[in-house]
């Protein structure tokens, strides 16, 4: 966590040239630059600067955008809803597709079903998010005219308006994730299915679903959950692209805009928010192991 903070802080200071000069812009006089430097505390020693910045971050103050003059934390708060909605939808879709896919592939290992799932996984890994996005737009909105091309309607306006705009983005975002989770589920299930207690369960007359879900999936869940956590990184990078393609006003779009405008405080803020949530999610997953597998203790 501290390393993340140090890294994000040094972003502004590693940048070539004087941050104050960048902020002031091309037409600024040297007095302007001096004034901005004073205002941002850039003339103080580096360690003091870091201390001030870190203290502010802990209190939720991420600085002020160079471009819009709004507080960064406020900008992030405004943009967080679409991103959360998108990632949650996409997560729900992917998990409800990927886990059954992986289970069936493992159960029918070696058959055409298994090969189909594995082929899908390879393709899912290979097709970049924005290519998938544009193909979906072409097929579902332009040819079939089923869904809106782009845009976002908040969930507070009702599900009927929210969902049509959400389907394509969440599918786009989900495909890589589906590929990843399906592959891991299959691998993990294969390992478990060769164990003795699976044969015992079958021998005592349990139905196939009972064996697969109650006995096998439960024991195969730790690696799957780990992969879900690591896959969040894929989701985050996908969000940046997906929001750009579908014109969703979320954090990903904010990141891209901030980069194009070289709005360093906003870039710092967004990278910090994404990284901290990634770390926190993975922490939560580490803790969840104790519930999934009572043998693991901390």
């Amino acid at each position: 966590m501290l390393v993340v903070a140090v890294f994000v802080f040094s972003l502004l200071h590693l940048s070539p040239g004087d941050p104050a000069a960048i902020i002031a812009g091309d037409q600024a006089t040297s007095q302007d630059v001096e004034r901005i430097r004073e205002q941002l505390g850039l003339n103080k020693p580096l360690l003091t600067q870091f201390g001030t910045w870190f203290w502010n971050v802990i209190r939720g103050d991420l600085g002020i955008s160079i471009f819009t003059n709004q507080p960064v934390s406020q900008m992030i708060a405004q943009r967080i809803e679409p991103t959360l909605a998108l990632t949650i939808c996409s997560m729900l879709i992917s998990l409800s597709v990927a886990i059954p896919m992986g289970i069936i592939a493992a159960w029918k290992a070696g058959t055409w079903v298994d090969r189909l799932v594995m082929a899908f996984a390879v393709f899912g890994f290979s097709f970049p998010t924005f290519v998938i996005a544009y193909v979906l737009v072409l097929v579902l909105s332009m040819w079939a005219e089923l869904l809106p091309v782009q845009g976002y309607v908040s969930i507070t306006n009702g599900l009927t308006q929210f969902l049509p705009n959400m389907i394509m983005p969440s599918l786009t975002l989900g495909i890589v994730f589906i590929a990843l989770i399906a592959r891991m589920t299959r691998a993990s299930m294969l390992e478990v299915l060769s164990q003795d207690y699976i044969r015992t369960a079958q021998a005592k007359g349990l139905s196939t679903p009972q064996v697969l879900i109650g006995h096998a999936l439960k024991n195969a869940s730790v690696p799957i959950v780990t992969t879900i956590g690591l896959g969040i990184a894929l989701l985050i990078s996908g969000v940046v692209v997906t929001e750009t393609v579908f014109a969703i006003p979320g954090l990903g779009r904010l990141t891209v805009d901030a980069i194009l405008r070289r709005d360093y405080p906003v870039i710092q803020g967004v990278v910090l928010v994404f990284s901290v949530s990634y770390v926190l999610i993975n922490l939560a997953i580490d803790i969840s192991y104790t519930f999934l597998d009572p043998r693991i203790r901390y």
């Binding site: 290979s126 970049p128 290519v131 072409l138 891209v256 980069i259």
Partner: protein
């Protein structure tokens, strides 16, 4: 007479074994062979781009803008009349260059870091904490952030993606070193008084090669995608260099009328990444059977 026939018999034998070997590879790893052939085609396309097209990739002909694919412009033209066919050919150079450079650089640097930290506990404690920190930032975000700091250039794209990939390689190598360090053959080498660096080079290093080659192909695939994403977002290869991500980014505004501007480079990008991944899977099956069984 006899000598001549003996020679030709040897020749025939060599030919037969070669053909048999190829058929054997094809039978056992058909997808890897397909991937390899595709990759070779794309590589040839990138190398011989100037011979395959007579049109400059940056030549503007505003009169002929947004033309759909035709005999004259095989893949159509973009919004300022540049020929997409030749831009796609030249774009292959960027993708392959970035993919290969990132794969080689991050593997070499990651290998060094991984070996050192696997062997020295003091180095390990410091380096791995830093790596953990870097890893907690999603790779694309890290690459974007690094690109925001520097001028857009292919070189900087390569550096940014390499930095984002290093932690994964060094973790892999460190894991291998840690498990090998306890193996009897390393203990034996130590017992007869072999120096640390010699154990590292002669006994540990050769064992990391196979998994690293496999890992390098996957890094190559992901680097190609990352470059395209960076360029697509406007934080990658500078716009004056035709890269697949740039062509797609420039076609974004015109997608509803001229979908081909995005779809054609998109297909090339996907096929290239797929080919690299298929080769990687094949290599993994051959070089790293333990991992292959797991996946």
């Amino acid at each position: 007479m006899t000598v001549v026939s003996f020679d030709s018999a040897v020749d025939a034998n060599v030919a037969v074994t070669w053909r048999a070997a190829l058929r054997d590879i094809w039978r056992r790893h058909p997808t890897a062979v397909i991937g390899g052939v595709l990759l070779l085609l794309i590589l040839l396309m990138a190398i011989f781009a100037p011979l395959l097209t007579s049109i400059e990739p940056n030549a503007l002909r505003p009169v002929r803008r947004l033309r759909w694919p035709s005999a004259e412009h095989w893949f159509g033209t973009d919004s300022i009349g540049r020929d997409i066919y030749s831009r796609v050919l030249y774009g292959a150079r960027v993708s392959l260059l970035v993919g290969a450079s990132v794969a080689v650089l991050s593997t070499l640097i990651g290998l060094t870091i991984g070996l050192l930290s696997g062997f020295h506990r003091a180095v390990d404690a410091i380096v791995m904490r830093i790596m953990d920190g870097v890893m907690s930032i999603p790779p694309i975000l890290l690459a974007i952030a690094l690109m925001a700091l520097t001028k857009a250039s292919i070189q900087n794209v390569i550096i940014a993606i390499t930095i984002a990939e290093i932690p994964r390689v060094s973790r892999l190598v460190r894991g291998i070193v840690l498990s090998l360090r306890e193996q009897p053959f390393v203990e034996a080498a130590r017992a007869i008084g072999t120096r640390s660096w010699r154990i590292m080079v002669r006994h540990i290093l050769p064992n990391t090669v196979a998994p690293l080659i496999v890992q390098a192909t996957y890094i190559c695939a992901s680097a190609i995608i990352t470059e395209a994403i960076l360029s697509f977002l406007g934080a990658g290869t500078p716009p004056n260099i035709p890269s697949w991500g740039n062509i797609i980014a420039e076609g974004r505004t015109y997608f509803l009328v001229s979908a081909y501007i995005i779809l054609i480079p998109g297909v090339f990008l996907s096929v290239t990444v797929l080919a690299v991944n298929l080769v990687g899977d094949g290599l993994r099956d051959v070089l790293d059977p333990r991992m292959a069984r797991r996946m």
